[in-house]
Symmetry: C2
Subunit: 363 residues, 2 copies
């Protein structure tokens, strides 16, 4: 198989060992004589997978009893609806920080149910920075944050103090770094960037924040229903959960969050150093808010776009086209992307500069 | 790998060729140098998978323009909420036929939004038959049916006439037989029984029944949002959709619904003939309503349970333990289960009768 440097923004690269194990499970799962695609989710073998995945998430977060982990279908977009359904109380507006497309979507859904107070936003500068220094209202039902902005390439490197429950969409940077997870009361993340395959969404919730709204809601939107069903109220996305479990095991085996943070820091430094050094590129975000997961950058000579595109494609690089809202390029540096791939991209950028920095033609 | 006769009620057996192709895709998808678990859902390769799956569903149903196919996350349980959200109009009660656990759950969710008229039910006899001869109210927003009852082993072999839109949960018998699909306005089915792997739910909807409620709803519950997003409003359950596409292709290549119906009829006949012939077994449902997908049966000498269990397990049979609500046994005979597996089970039942019919001991 040809070597591809996969910088896709999600679904995204997975560890080679995880792909191997997942594939083996798709052939035959746990010596059952059956593929994991064919086994009952109520069988011991899969229940063990689900329980191991749930336990690993809590272990990485340092959470004990009082917290519940769920692996649900429907994507993080369904969480945009579930969060206000379960937490938004009458007369207590929800506080949202608007840092981009995904936060905006979360705000839109919350507004279906009640008052939403957008307490900070970076929309004024096309979401190219992370708002700071805002106060969190003490009467809010909850505060909603988006820790990393996949599209605009910003990331929260610190979090506000809050006296109300803090909800955080960590879809694109979960388990990419050490964190004080105890600052959060509800964390959710689509699996397809850092912890597994598309189709599963992990939710971790502190149980005592639930049950305060008096709102009736559909069973599938009710965290309490899923908690009672031990994350199997209905048939879960079996294979996606399996891939999550394998990816979490891979992370633990290799050294956990401290280990991956060090690698991710090095990848991000390598990437941004080149963006800042190379006269043919420029970053799109405030430097202090740059995401270590998604590095967005533009050509300083846009007329060279096709030339650059040919060069990185020839080097076996895939998935660095920028989101249509930003243009340019986006190199996603998720956990499973090796430093080697970043070096290949940086080498292409250097070579590109060497050849075309002084060029006035489009090659 | 050992030979297993997989009678699981779902997630369930898949065609051997589908497992092979899916596994190949998990190793490398479409010569991309990447696993299908790692590719962007916005890339041409996966868009082609999604579009082929959507087209095949419409092709099997004989639907042209005016109908839309979606592959969504969240399971059929999410459809229990989406159906009333999108179709239940004020002042026009929804009509439901209650044929079991799943229909009951659908009814419960619909009641969250408005009036529900349960126009027929078989709850009086533990859902062991399918109600017939009821009239469908002309003023209903829609009629909701469950074509096959996985737990109790009943199946609708005919459908009521209706002047209002007909919604049908076909989770456990979709594409198991030829049908006049034009009788239905909205069909949904969890993929994990007859058309793929857990994590995806197929929805087919006649577009002109939508947009009549005036109800505001969460984006993820809104069929119109998913239609506009071409079944990719958010990241879809990529691998599950891929397995669906492969399973649908397998079905088409082998001869489609006419081909599979013939095989399914033979499997069901083989199974029920033995249940009726063998003095140690008895069926649980009204004969005329028996499901060709899930054959439920009990021991006439319950004291022989462990003996029988050992015999079928020794024969490499898996997944025939009955649902806790019914007890006994349930042999699920989904599309991918070969006739050979049914014959193995029937042989075990014959052997069991031969050895223990006259026995007064528990062996």
């Amino acid at each position: 198989m040809k070597k591809v440097h996969n910088f896709s923004a999600g679904p995204a690269i997975l560890p080679v060992d995880v792909i191997k194990e997942a594939t083996q499970g798709a052939i035959e799962f746990n010596n059952s004589g059956m593929s994991i695609l064919e086994v009952s989710h109520r069988g011991t073998d899969f229940i063990n997978v689900m329980e191991e995945a749930r336990a690993l998430v809590k272990e990485f977060m340092g959470f004990g009893s009082g917290y519940q982990t769920l692996f649900l279908g429907g994507g993080a977009s369904t969480q945009f609806a579930m969060v206000p359904s379960n937490l938004l109380q009458a007369g207590k507006p929800a506080a949202y920080v608007n840092t981009g497309v995904w936060a905006s979507k979360a705000i839109k859904e919350a507004k279906m149910l009640g008052d939403v107070n957008v307490i900070a936003s970076s929309e004024d500068k096309k979401f190219s920075y992370v708002p700071k220094g805002y106060a969190v209202p003490k009467d809010a039902s909850y505060l909603h944050l988006t820790s990393n902005n996949t599209i605009y390439g910003t990331q929260m490197h610190s979090f506000p103090e809050s006296s109300v429950p803090v909800v955080c969409d960590m879809s694109s940077d979960i388990f990419s770094r050490k964190m004080d997870f105890s600052k959060f009361d509800l964390i959710y993340a689509g699996a397809q960037k850092n912890i597994g395959a598309a189709g599963a969404t992990v939710v971790v919730v502190k149980e005592d924040i639930l049950g305060k709204t008096g709102r009736k809601m559909f069973s599938m939107l009710d965290y309490a229903v899923h908690i009672k069903g031990e994350s199997m109220y209905n048939t879960p996305p079996v294979f996606s959960v399996y891939v999550c479990m394998l990816t979490l095991k891979w992370l633990k085996k290799n050294g956990g969050l401290a280990w991956i943070e060090k690698i991710n820091d090095e990848k991000a430094k390598t990437m941004y150093d080149e963006i800042d050094r190379n006269i043919l590129f420029t970053g799109t975000c405030a430097k202090e808010d740059r995401s270590k997961m998604n590095a967005c950058f533009l050509l300083t000579k846009p007329e060279l776009e096709e030339t650059f595109n040919k060069m990185w494609k020839d080097a076996g690089i895939s998935g660095i086209k920028g989101h249509r809202d930003v243009g340019g390029y986006r190199a996603s540096l998720y956990n499973a992307l090796p430093l080697e791939s970043v070096k290949v991209l940086v080498d292409v950028m250097k070579e590109f500069e060497k050849k075309y920095a002084d060029s006035k033609v489009t090659a």
